[in-house]
């Protein structure tokens, strides 16, 4: 790692101020950032830890039953505290990485990084979540802007993620067993006003909504409704773990499994 200064503010305001320094970088749980620093792929002058800010911790149930999850809440805490409130989200959080990674990694860190194979972007987009930062609210539809790219401005922090609770939901992850990321993951959520299908791990543009599947499932919520749909492999990720065509095929398979799990 290149050398850097370390700061650990205890309020959002102090964190935002510290991130105003040139080449400062926010540190969530560090489960991606620290390996990145070790490879010298990043060289911040200052790391600003978000791990000691009480207002960014924990899971709250709002008056309308929706969930507000602090940006610095670990995967393990989300898994434990949402189990009886939003089982699909709890299941997703409880299968990220491994137990030790889940004790450090955070929801805000995962969303801000927007790894194309990460699980949380699928949950946020599939649930129609709202990402709340230190100065605005952004819908998940506007937040994810391509691989490792989000609507976040320089120095902007995810303070809370707001999840509406669907009638039924399921996350189906086809595990890449070495990395423990999703080779392909599909988060499907059924709301009174329609179905949302978000796909991670598959596209070179990062997480995306499979709108054709949503339309078909809005007409008829059965696995067979997806029978004639095909994803174009052109923009899929192709690597030694799976070709573009394989991933395109898996999107259909995992979406069908998600529908089956919701019936």
């Amino acid at each position: 790692m290149y050398s850097f200064e370390f700061e650990k503010p205890s309020t959002i305001a102090d964190a935002v101020a510290a991130l105003g320094a040139e080449d400062a970088q926010a540190l969530g749980g560090g489960q991606t950032l620290i390996p990145t620093l070790k490879q010298r792929l990043a060289a911040p002058t200052t790391l600003v830890s978000l791990s000691s800010i009480p207002e960014m911790q924990g899971v709250c149930v709002e008056d309308d039953g929706s969930l507000a999850i602090g940006g610095a809440t670990t995967h393990a805490t989300v898994a434990a505290e949402t189990a009886d409130k939003y089982a699909a989200l709890s299941d997703l959080a409880g299968h990220i990485g491994d137990p030790a990674v889940r004790n450090r990694g955070t929801i805000g860190g995962s969303l801000a990084n927007n790894d194309p194979a990460a699980c949380y972007p699928a949950a946020a987009l599939g649930s129609g979540a709202t990402i709340i930062t230190n100065n605005r609210s952004v819908s998940a539809d506007d937040f994810f802007q391509g691989m490792f790219t989000t609507a976040l401005d320089e120095g902007e922090i995810i303070t809370t993620v707001h999840f509406p609770i669907p009638q039924a939901a399921s996350y189906q992850k086809f595990l890449q067993p070495a990395s423990r990321f999703a080779l392909v993951g599909v988060f499907l959520a059924r709301f009174a006003d329609g179905v949302r299908v978000a796909v991670t791990g598959a596209s070179e543009d990062g997480v995306f909504r499979w709108s054709e599947a949503e339309e078909a499932l809005n007409k008829e919520f059965r696995p067979d409704a997806l029978m004639d749909l095909k994803i174009n492999p052109m923009n899929m990720i192709g690597d030694l773990h799976g070709s573009k065509e394989y991933r395109a095929h898996l999107v259909g398979v995992m979406t069908k499994r998600a529908v089956e799990a919701c019936i």
């Binding site: 560090g30 137990p99 030790a100 990674v101 004790n103």
Partner: protein, 161 residues
């Protein structure tokens, strides 16, 4: 350099570290607690697992300054007060849960974290919990058997040696 202070295995310790000093480096190089092993250094293998405020974490993937004020437990703090092996360590010996021993500190620390939150895990729960701990020689069966035994359960039904 910044001063960092924490409790390690019940003792207060402090030292001057850089921002980039990893918790694993602080334990091994500043405190000479070399029982915490660094295997892959990329948070895959779990040889560096320690407890921070009671939770298993990969110490090669956490900055020492992030543990400022924390209660840290390492493999050196696992033995009983008289120096004899604790229940988990003894079970690893009894059931041949180690061969070269490199992964063992991390395995024991993960096993201790598991048994704290789930005192009688099933075989499947143990295998799932150890997803972040790699062993390249035992083939895992005897590690799983040792953890089952440490939790006071019958191990005769566990898969092949």
């Amino acid at each position: 350099m910044t001063q960092v202070s924490m409790t390690v295995n019940g003792k207060s310790v402090s030292g001057d570290v850089e921002g980039r000093t990893l918790l694993s480096s602080f334990l091994r190089e500043h405190l000479s607690l070399t029982g915490t092993h660094v295997g892959c250094d990329t948070a895959q293998c779990g040889a560096c697992v320690v407890h921070v405020n009671g939770e298993a974490v990969k110490s090669c993937n956490m900055l020492a300054l992030e543990a400022n004020g924390a209660d840290v437990g390492t493999i050196e703090g696992q033995a009983n007060a008289d120096g004899s092996l604790n229940v988990i360590q003894q079970a690893f010996q009894d059931h041949h849960g180690l061969q070269c021993g490199f992964c063992t500190p991390g395995m024991v620390m993960s096993a201790a974290a598991l048994l704290k939150e789930n005192p009688r895990p099933t075989e499947s729960e143990i295998r799932k919990y150890l997803e972040g701990n790699l062993c390249r020689c035992t083939g895992y069966h005897n590690i799983v058997k040792a953890i089952m035994a440490a939790s006071g359960q019958d191990v005769s039904s566990i898969a092949a040696e």
